[in-house]
Each structure stands twice: as structure tokens, then as C-alpha cells.
Amino acid sequence: MTSAPTENLHRLPGGLRLPGFKAQSATGEIREVPIPKTLVLPVRQHAGSAAQPIVSVGDRVLRGQPIARAEGDFSASVHAASSGTVVAIESRPIPAREATEAACIIIETDGRDEPWDALAPIANPLAATPDTLLEAIGKAGIVGLGGAAFPTLAKLRHAVDAGVDTLILNGVECEPYISCDDALMRNHAVEILFGTRIMLTALGLRQCAIGIESDKPDSWAAFTEAASIEGDDRVQLVAIPTVYPSGGEDQLVYLLTGREVPSGGFPSDVGALVHNVGTAAAVADLALTGTPLISRIVTVTGEGIANPGNYRVRLGTPIADVAAFAGGYTEHAKRLIMGGPMTGVALTDDALPVTKACNCLIATGPAVRTSFEPERPCIRCGECARICPVRLQPQQLLRAHRYGAGDTLDGLGLIDCIECGCCDLVCPSHIPLTQSFRDAKLARRIDVYERERAERARERFERRQEREQVRADAQAAETERLKQGANPDAIAEILARKREKPDGDDV
């Protein structure tokens, strides 16, 4: 394993240096949150379509037993996080940006945490074929653990089809407060390297870059140390400048390779496959012990939490149980944010469960704004465009959105907005730009959909008109022909026929 000089990095346009707020959670070990009495496991914890439940109420399930099967190519299966009894399968609110409900499998745990014995480690993982690895990953329900929860199987499939040449491990935890990847790298660098080697071998890749922020010396040291056990020539450590949002997938690809992910595309379109370090650790865990994705590391932090830190939490554990184990709330807890303070989701209820996407829980910290100042008109200062990491012009997008110019938005790159939130932070007029762009994206999607529908209806209508025109023309020609022939008998005959069949139904 080698480390790459930082000056080879490509410069990301824009971005912000944000205060870290990581010290409060980044110290100490990863502590295990005890198994709760009740587990709430939503069938949709990932990007894509919901999984299909395969257990029934009353079934006894064991730790690691699949309870919902992936549905389609873009989905992930769900496993019981501990042993117990399924007491309900019902629609409940799930932690997501829009207040959404999804089917949840509720398990009353029995405290014995019995493992399911059908789980088997991957035999000889460092020689696994792509098919073996992909199948195992699909069965284990592994998703990207950086927060977006993109199904890993779908990502790998796309990578195999597109033919990638570089694996990038994302250890760039660029949002403030979050330190779960840092904790993982400090404590489990060996597993991360092992998982990386499995993926490299199975996919036949020659090079891998592990990106770590330059202000994480402990993680760096842990990797250097782990290299003596799991070292590999193909793997390179790269220090990434501590600039938000360097940890965005497309941003990291650009930083490391200078390749731009095409608009609407994926990193694999430019030959790069990006995984979170947590995902690599999950692959190692699966290969060694056969454990599917049933737990994850969650940073629990903010001024509103008594004992901030990093915790290993079984998926499905209610947030309230996690908070209680972390010493409970303090009087500062006014808001609860899942994810980081730039892109996270404000939850209104801590009865919601921890899911695969939940990398961080923040109970209102010192920098989290508690009130929103009224916005003023845009003064076109251009700061938003200066810091935009994809070189959009947010001020122009906002104007097009507010004036309802939908097609202009496409040209201005609305879909390329990564919703990083940088523009909100530098806007002197305090305009909620990111939220406007989220709204605009939704409105645009609906508009495009409706126009497609209208277009189809128009086409069908016009075809029908044509058809009827042809029929009317034929009828007119027939009448004309009969008139020309002027055969009184024929007309009488037709009239007689008409009388017999008064309905005239021509179907």
C-alpha cells in the first residue's frame, strides 16, 4: 500500500470549509447499543423499490434471517436484526425527507439473539468470482452506508456492465458532526482493507484509491498499520482536502481522477466504482462470518445529547432507544436531524427506527440554526455560483424556478444540482435555495410526466380522427356512387334494410 501525493489531485470548483464539530463524537471506542425490545424494520431502507415481506405475523425469526426479499433490480433485501417474533406487518412512517409511510416488519425480540444457521461465509473470498460475490452481496442486503443507501448489488452490476478500471473507497466524511466513518477507519481498518481486496479481486481491478480527509491523522495511521496485515500494492491512500462536499460521489471521482461524471450518469460511466468505507467493511464481515447487513455505526451527537459518540446499532432500533443509551437528551434538543447538517433530514419523532441510511443523528447542536430569518430579494452577488461544486448558477436557477420557466431550468442544469446546501450558507439574502431546487426538481418531473401523457393522448386522438375521416370519406363515396347509379330499387332495398335494423349500431 502506498500513499499518493496530494498535489496530483484535481481541484474541485467551489466548495466550503465548514466548521467540523466532530471532536465531541470522534473520541473513544464504538459502543454497542443493546438489543431493543421491539425492532421496526421498514421494507424500504434504501434508494429504489421496496422489498417484499416474506414472513408472516406470528413467525419466529432468527438473527440474520431474511424477512423481506429484494423486488426488482434496484432494491435490497431486509434481514431480522435479532431473534424474536414477528408481531405485526403494518404501514408506518419511515425516516425520509418527505413524510412517507412504508410497510414495516415489527419484531418483538426475545433477548437470546440466536443466529440463523443458513448463513455461510464466502469460501476463499480472495478468489471469489464476480458472480459469487454479487450473489452473496445481493442476499446480504448490503447498501451504500454513506447515507444515500444505494443498493450495492445494483452499483456493482452497473460497474461490471460498464467496465470500470478504478475502485474508490470513500472515507471522506465531509459534513460537519458526522464521525462514524472516522470511527470505523480508526477501529476497523483491517476489515476495510480486506473487503477492498475482495472487491478488487472479484472485479479484476488493478487500482484502488482510499480517500481520507487530510484532518484525520488517526484514520491514516490506522490504515498504515493495517497495511502490514492486509497490505496490497493495488491500494493507495490519498489525503483529500477538508473541503465540503469533497465526499460527494461524483466530486470524489473528479478530485481523484479528473473525470467528470456525465449529467444524469453514474461514476461507472467514467470507469470509476465508488464505495463507502463502511460498505467495504460490510463486505468483509459478510465474507468472513456470513453476517448480512443487520447493524451499522451511527454517530449520535449534538448539544442535545448527553454522551455524544459513535454507536453500533442494530437496524430497526427506535431512535429513542439509541438516544437513551447515549445518556438521553439535554435541554438543547429541539431538532433531530438524521444525516449531516447540510443534507440531512429533520425528523419530528424519535419513535422512528434507525435504518441502513442513518449514518448520524444530531440533536440540535450549537451551529444548527434554530430560527430562519425572512429571505430578502436576491442581489445577484454570485457567491452561490462561486461556491457551487458543480458550477451551477443558483441565482439563475432560482429566478427560472420562481418565474415558472420549466424548460429553462433544464438548460441551467437543475438535475445536476447535488443538493449539497453550500449556496444556502453563503447567500446574504438567506434564500432557501436548496429547498427551492428540490421543489423545482419535483415540479419538473411532474410537468414532464404530464406532458408525456398529454402527448400520448393527443396522438391517439389524432389517429382516431384520421380513422373516422377515412370511414366518413368511404361512406360519402358510397352514397355518391349509389346516387350516380340512380337505381330506385337499390335505394328502396337499403331503406328496407335500415328499417329492419333500427339501431344502426356498426360495431
Binding site: 411532474i446 404530464e450 393522448a457 393527443r458 391517439r460 386522438f461 389517429r463 382516431r464 360495431v507
Partner: protein
Amino acid sequence: MDIVAAIAVLAGIALVAGLALTLAARTLQRDADDVVERINAELPQTQCAQCGFPGCRPYAEAIALGEVDINRCPPGGDATIAALARLLDRDIIALDASLPPPAPPGVAIIDEERCIGCARCLPACPVDAILGAHQFMHTVVEDLCTGCELCIAPCPVDCIDMVATEDDAERAA
């Protein structure tokens, strides 16, 4: 002498500008069909005929000829009026009061218990979204139905109901 030069220069400018404008008008000319197409593109294509024309395109043609106002499309509602106003540089006006108010988007559903298979609803559908034949069960292809309600009147047993569609946001996602 000065005045001759001034007149010559001004006349020259006028000539050049006039030529340029004529040329632009020729090359950039929009024929009437193009206007109709652009108006039609803003209409919701429900083909419901509530405007008094036998479909969206005939209404678009009438608008293009200036025969009728832009506020006669209930399914399009205020959004369509606004879009047409912008396209044609007119003022935004309210929906014609003599027309029914805009209804929430919906699709027709045939109650299969009550349907007698008379096939009268089939020719009524402007987009051929109803499947069926004489003496056979009919059904509406939900995805193609524009919610125009034209099939409701011909049904002798009132077996067709309008049901609200799920959220557009959900459908678009």
C-alpha cells in the same frame, strides 16, 4: 452639402435596416400551423370537448384564428390559461364562468358488476382507452384515460364512475 450627406447616411441606414428586417421576417416566419401546434402543446389533451370544440386541436385552431378566448379549458385550469397567456402575450383571465369548475384529475372506472356490454361507451372515448366488444365486459385502460368524462353520458346503466387518480407526484416518481 452637409444636409445632403446627412440625408444620404440616414437613407442608407434605413435601407440596410429595412432589408435586414424584411429578411428576418421572411426567414423567421411562423406559419399558422406552427402557432396551432404550440397552442395545442399547452392544452391538456383530455379531448373532453368542454370548450365547445370536438377536441383540443380544434380548440387550438380556434384560438389561433382569434375566434375564442383562452379561458375555456376546465381540465387545464389556471395553469393552462397562464401558459397560453404567456405564449400569446395576453392577459391572464379567469376560467369562463359558464363552464364547470376544474375537477381534480381522475380516471374512469367501469363497474364490471353493472356493465351490460352494450359497447356504447367505446365510440365516445376520444383516445380509444376503453377495451371491449358487444356482449363482452368493457374495461378502461387507466394509463390512457384522460378523465374527459365523455363515456359517462352514453352508458345506459350508469356503470362508469370517475375516481381521483393518485398524487401526480407519486405517479411521476
